[in-house]
């Protein structure tokens, strides 16, 4: 048998040193135990998935997903996967759906999940739906064929919730609520007997209402393990040596009008405003290159055709359109006073609009944006009467149809109904929405987070889902 010579071993030893320097951390299996400490900007007052008074956000969705589960889930490619339902069938015409409920699933209070409870939960979330239990199955009957019903059932509002007599909400998720101080603090502990296996960490602690700056400080001080990063700050934080994770662009930043354009002049003015906006330079300077400039509702990665909507500013055309209108264009544009990015974006849009001959008066308000959207023309207690607002709308799903419908809903618009489900049908639906001139898309932004080195195997989904049930903390006692 041939043995290795000493020269070979010596050379290999040098090779070993090089390897150790290069790789740094080695792959290891997940370890059990420990606490993940999270800081977020949002400060939800309720954890009820059906509470429409709470602003939708990636963070809120992620909190709900730790506690509650849905019948099915949608992955990053828009494919449906079983969760609390193990299988489903649909009758021809996509009107009658049957979901067989997984056995042996327990709520956090120890009670068993049944089809009756699941059906009741879905009825609460969707009072207009016809939902009932039949044996171990949940039946959903739609008024019209709905091929996207499974994707809709994957939305957080359709989480399966057991409501006990005291109004307490009980879920089946990988973590249970230990302590809830509305808008301030949430403590979760691991569900030992979760149907999908116990998650690795013991506890999750969430501090809410922390601005981006406070969050970064907490990460640096080691008092938080996982924090949000402002989209425009992502590069800088990464340059500081922090691990920054970025989702696919899942948030639409847009200018939204409160009502349809009533006259031909108003349509021309809105078109003029849309043509005046210099998205590319705003992205370079104000967003530090993050996100994507867009003139479409859905990001290109989701629809595949976003580039077909031009994002180039055309000041000549904007002025020409403006000059065709004799009335003055003097609009109040609102933005969230707590959102520094919104302020600079609105100010820049106002400058562009001025070049086209349109006066925009930026006005900050404190009312929640999303919940106010449909009522934009009705001034709230803190807001003057607004003509339009800068809105940030999280896309609800990786399913493009559900995402488009959710944006339409947030803007108070009806979702166009088309027969097909091809990319061309989606494009046509989006054209119909944009033709109403209620919204001027500006950017698609990703969600960004920074984490401490102790957080292992953290791979958020491209839609921004945290997936903390797969996370483990390095070097904790087992």
């Amino acid at each position: 048998m041939k043995h290795f010579g000493w020269r070979w071993v010596a050379a290999s030893s040098l090779f070993l040193i090089a390897i150790l320097i290069r790789t740094g951390a080695a792959e290891t299996r997940p370890q059990y135990g420990g606490t993940v400490r999270i800081a977020i900007r949002e400060a939800p007052e309720s954890l009820d998935p059906v509470d429409a008074t709470q602003a939708d956000s990636v963070a809120r969705r992620n909190l709900l997903a730790l506690i509650f589960e849905t019948l099915v889930t949608v992955d990053e490619r828009g494919r449906i996967h079983p969760e609390l339902a193990v299988e489903w069938q649909v009758a021809p015409g996509n009107q009658r759906w049957q979901f067989r409920v997984r056995r042996s699933v327990k709520f956090h209070d120890g009670s068993a999940l049944t089809a009756e409870i699941a059906a009741s939960s879905l009825r609460t979330a969707n009072p207009s739906w016809k939902v009932f239990a039949e044996g171990d199955a949940v039946i959903v009957e739609c008024d019209h064929g709905d091929a996207d019903l499974p994707a809709e059932l994957a939305l957080p509002r359709n989480s399966i919730v057991r409501r006990n007599g005291g109004g307490k909400l009980i879920g089946t998720g990988p973590f249970r609520i230990d302590d809830w101080q509305a808008g301030k603090r949430l403590t979760l502990s691991v569900e030992e007997n979760h149907w999908h296996g116990r998650a690795f960490v013991d506890m999750i602690e969430v501090e809410m209402g922390r601005n981006y700056q406070e969050q970064l400080v907490e990460l640096k001080l080691g008092t938080a393990d996982l924090v949000e990063v402002a989209p425009e700050q992502g590069h800088r934080v990464a340059m500081e040596g922090r691990r920054v994770i970025t989702s696919q662009p899942m948030e639409l930043v847009a200018l939204a009008f409160g009502s349809d354009a009533q006259t031909a002049d108003e349509k021309l003015l809105r078109s003029s405003l849309a043509h005046s906006v210099e998205r590319t330079s705003m992205r370079s300077v104000l967003l530090q290159g993050t996100g994507q400039a867009t003139a479409s509702v859905l990001p290109n990665w989701m629809g595949g055709y976003g580039f077909a909507f031009s994002t180039d500013a055309d000041l000549k055309l904007a002025r020409r359109e403006r000059e065709q209108v004799r009335t003055t264009a003097n609009w109040t544009v609102g933005y969230d006073a707590n959102d520094s990015l919104a302020r600079v974006l609105v100010e820049r849009v106002a400058l562009n609009a001025k070049d086209a001959g349109i006066v925009l008066r930026p006005t900050a308000g404190t009312a929640p944006l999303q919940s106010d959207l449909p009522r934009l023309d009705i001034p709230g207690p803190d807001l003057p009467r607004l003509d339009l607002r800068l809105v940030r709308i999280p896309l609800a799903s990786t399913d493009p149809w559900v995402a488009l419908a959710s944006v339409a809903g947030a803007l108070g618009m009806a979702m166009p109904r088309l027969n097909g489900d091809s990319a061309e049908d989606l494009y046509a639906a989006e054209r119909v929405l944009l033709a109403e001139q209620r919204v001027i898309p500006l950017f698609h932004l990703p969600a960004e987070w920074a984490s401490s080195p102790a957080v292992k195997d953290w791979r958020p989904a491209s839609d921004g889902s945290w997936r903390l049930d797969e996370v483990w903390m390095g070097r904790e006692e087992q």
Binding site: A25, G197, R243, G303
Partner: protein, 427 residues
């Protein structure tokens, strides 16, 4: 010995050539599939432009390879010609068309933006379902590790056992959390023969691990956390599963390949596995020399020395414990959690395969396997890293001990892929 190695290399080459050829066929088939959507798009374009000269520009915004882009462009131009739309230079054209080959998560989306002059323009498009991509093995030096694809699927693969092989695996059993699926290679394609369901009362741990092992008097034994299954000895083949705390074998059928020490053959070593976690508890049976317990560990590998058998345990404490029957020496080697030993004709005859974060780094979700020798106290790498396209979720030595099974979760597709990791001498 050298003839055997040469023969095994020939077999490996044959497998790789067949694999490469089959990939070529798949690509060819895919290229042929472009014709339908290209024809569809050509009709839509012609409906906008009418017959005449059109300047065409093609851009790729998708994951399609250049040769696919060229193929699509060629087929589309030919289809347009048939419809009376001929390609021309921009100055001679009545219309300009920008074709963008784009994609979304489920479809390739081909978008044609047509400018007809003035401000008149139109957008037409078609969508084509996306397929999956295939990765290839890469050569490494001086001891060479090669990966031979065996199987891939959406569900988590825990282990694969090759039941029968000649020059290449012909009959395999694939273990996942719910079943053992048996496949036979027929006419170059794996065909499913049977599914043997696994019953279990308790939910599986999240980082589920398991072993499927060939047996002498029946086909298979299956080890899962808190569950043991044995296949029946007669047809029809089924699996009989029951809750069990029985130890898992750390060396499967290859104990006889280990050299006898002190005149007596090596006893098979088993270890108890936690029913609700992802590690071995540390209790061994019958033990390594005088030691019947070690710390909790993820995986173990034996290395025959001249007078004793050295065991390497990848501990849950992040260290590798070298146990010789008397002492337990812990070392921080920077390895991953999975180790397996392989018997080769190279070097001292045995090497350890260990996982670590690959070229692309741990955070990017790509791991590698590397072979090491332990010549004195410290391990010395004897191969380059064999990179995989995702995290390695299992690494088990095969029964013949001359190769290992690596299970990888592909970070792009999310699918689990099983590879045989074969070791060859290149010096």
């Amino acid at each position: 010995m050298r003839d055997a190695i040469r023969n095994s290399f020939r077999s490996l080459k044959l497998v790789l050539v067949l694999f490469a050829l089959s990939c070529g066929l798949v690509e060819r088939a895919a290229a042929d599939d472009w014709s339908g959507p290209a024809q569809q798009l050509a009709r839509k374009i012609a409906a906008v432009t009418g017959p005449g000269a059109v300047a065409v520009t093609v851009g790729n915004r998708s994951s399609l390879a250049k040769k696919d882009v060229d193929a699509i462009s060629g087929v589309l131009r030919a289809d347009l010609e048939e419809l009376g739309v001929r390609s021309a230079k921009p100055e001679q054209a009545a219309a300009l068309m920008v074709l963008s080959l784009s994609q979304n998560p489920r479809f390739f989306v081909w978008v044609a933006e047509i400018h007809l002059g003035g401000s008149e323009s139109a957008v037409v498009m078609v969508s084509v379902p996306r397929g999956d991509e295939v990765g290839f093995a890469r050569e490494s030096m001086p001891v060479s590790l090669r990966k031979i694809p065996l199987w891939s699927q959406q569900d988590r693969i825990l282990d694969v056992v090759v039941i029968e092989q000649d020059s290449e695996p012909r009959h395999i059993a694939v273990l996942d959390g719910e079943k053992v699926a048996i496949y036979r290679l027929r006419n170059g394609k794996w065909q499913q023969e049977q599914n043997l369901g696994i019953t279990h009362a308790r939910p599986w741990p999240r980082d589920l691990r398991g072993r499927v092992v060939g047996a002498k008097d029946h086909l298979l034994d299956v080890y899962l956390p808190g569950v043991f299954c044995r296949s029946t000895t007669s047809l029809p083949l089924t699996l009989n599963c029951h809750e069990s705390d029985d130890p898992w074998p750390l060396v499967t059928a290859g104990v006889e390949s280990l050299p006898p020490f002190g005149g007596s053959p090596v006893q098979p070593l088993g270890a108890f596995y936690s029913a609700s976690r992802n590690f071995f508890t540390g209790a061994l049976t019958p033990g390594v020399g005088k030691l019947t317990t070690v710390g909790k560990f993820y995986s173990a590998a034996p290395l025959p020395r001249e007078r004793y058998l050295l065991w390497l345990f990848a501990g849950t404490d992040g260290q590798v414990h070298l146990v010789d029957g008397v002492t337990d020496r812990a070392a921080k080697l920077g390895w991953g959690s999975d180790v397996a030993s392989v018997k080769t004709g190279c070097g001292s005859g045995w090497q350890v395969l260990a996982t670590d974060a690959g070229e692309n780094g741990f955070e990017n979700g790509a791991d590698s396997v590397r072979a090491y020798e332990i010549t004195d106290r410290d391990p010395v790498p004897v191969s380059a890293a064999l990179d995989f396209a995702g995290h390695i979720t299992a690494l088990w030595a095969e029964a013949k001990d001359d190769s290992a099974i690596a299970i990888v979760r592909n970070r792009e597709t999310g699918e689990y892929e099983a590879f045989r990791v074969a070791v060859g001498c290149s010096q």
